[in-house]
Symmetry: C2
Subunit: 290 residues, 2 copies
Amino acid sequence: MTLGALEAGGTKMVCALGDETGKIFEQTSIPTTKPEETLSACMDYFKDKNIEALGIACFGPVDLNRQSSTYGYITTTPKPGWANVDVVGAAKKALGVPVGFDTDVNGSLLGEVTYGDAKGLTDAVYFTIGTGVGAGIISGGNLVHGMMHPEAGHMLLTPREDDAYKGHCPFHRNCFEGFAAGPAVEERWGAKGVELADRDEVWDLEAYYIAQAMVNCIMILSPQRIILGGGIMHQEQLFPLIRKKTTEMLKGYIKAAELEDMDSYIVPASLNDDQGIMGCLKLALDELSR
Amino acid sequence: MTLGALEAGGTKMVCALGDETGKIFEQTSIPTTKPEETLSACMDYFKDKNIEALGIACFGPVDLNRQSSTYGYITTTPKPGWANVDVVGAAKKALGVPVGFDTDVNGSLLGEVTYGDAKGLTDAVYFTIGTGVGAGIISGGNLVHGMMHPEAGHMLLTPREDDAYKGHCPFHRNCFEGFAAGPAVEERWGAKGVELADRDEVWDLEAYYIAQAMVNCIMILSPQRIILGGGIMHQEQLFPLIRKKTTEMLKGYIKAAELEDMDSYIVPASLNDDQGIMGCLKLALDELSR
């Protein structure tokens, strides 16, 4: 079986061929420029490859409501030219195969729970903490959409008493993304995260905000595991700090076996940065069996 | 069809008979004392009533994991005598019928999405804001359990600058319950909520905290509607304040048709305080068809 996978990002499109086991046969990368140009180049890649279905994990916001007239569209993105772009429609028209569609972060989460260390979990969260903060969520075995889709990077957080930084998000300054995404780290400390790797106070504060988000996720979703990816999480010294602070902030309120082993509860992505594209293969597979 | 419904609360047990349409034939209330005594009295009520199944919505924390050896138990409650009580086991043994089981708040939510104004919604949240704060959540048509069940009353909130009150929750003082439950209102203002009904500043502050919780719920779960019940929400002047502050705090970030009509988005419970017992009827019905 050959399935197509398209991880549609704001800076590049990763196009790949693979199968239902998550095996990737080949992949290529196409820069994200204008919608027609970019999507045409992607479709040219998939044409004549005999794919049975295509899975797309897309930057957003996107419309995931199958009853909506704009299902499969990128909706209100500030990215120039990309608002109201019919991604699924373009793919169906060009390829004539079933097209699965979800958010980029739901794609990554789906990769992890289908092919990664989180395989088989029914309730899990995948955060990417990088230029922005996004979250893919699965609950009871279903990717969470709701009225739109989660935007958990914008949950509100409490500033630490000694942190005078006002936050980077133009919408709500005191949100997870506003306090903890890459641009916030850079603006607060005056240097990029990679240049601050040996500054303990940077990662102690970063872990403080990420741990708050972990606590709110645990209280609201009760996930079996939380996976953290994205550029900021390449600072691996964050993991033990986040686990410790999350435990401290939970204050022993939630009694669950999972929380007694935090090393297995808050974990890095497990698929060598292929979780997104592998999630697309699963989106394609699921669309085939609808 | 006759179904049994048991809304198991910390102060009383409501036992009722009804049917699959949500119609309640009769009901009674039994005080919650010692587990054996209370559960025996409940089972005596249901005996000889020819119920086809029983649904129980129970105070907690409870074990909802069907694979667990303590499925159907109340687990770590501080309520004296009620930790590690096998509620489902007692009911099955006494009645010999299928027994559905979930949290009290999931029961209320299930009542609302099955028989109430939220009928047919697949993604919704029910908060009860009273002596404590609890939340029932449905996502993709499934009641959210995860590793345990949501405890969204304990999400962390940010104190308002002019509020010096340190919070009432003995676990995490700056959580939703700690800032906004009945005992917090009473401790902060020196009088019970009902006695403060005409004090605008009380409800302005209360709405500030509830709105923060709404924002976090919206960001993480993307619900189609949020239902607010419980003693505090009898102060109906809260609804317009909460809606306004929620909109303000969202800062226009989420574009969704639902949020353009906040009067239909953040709403009171619709079933005249019968949402819990009606949810139990649905739990019984669902257990029958498992």
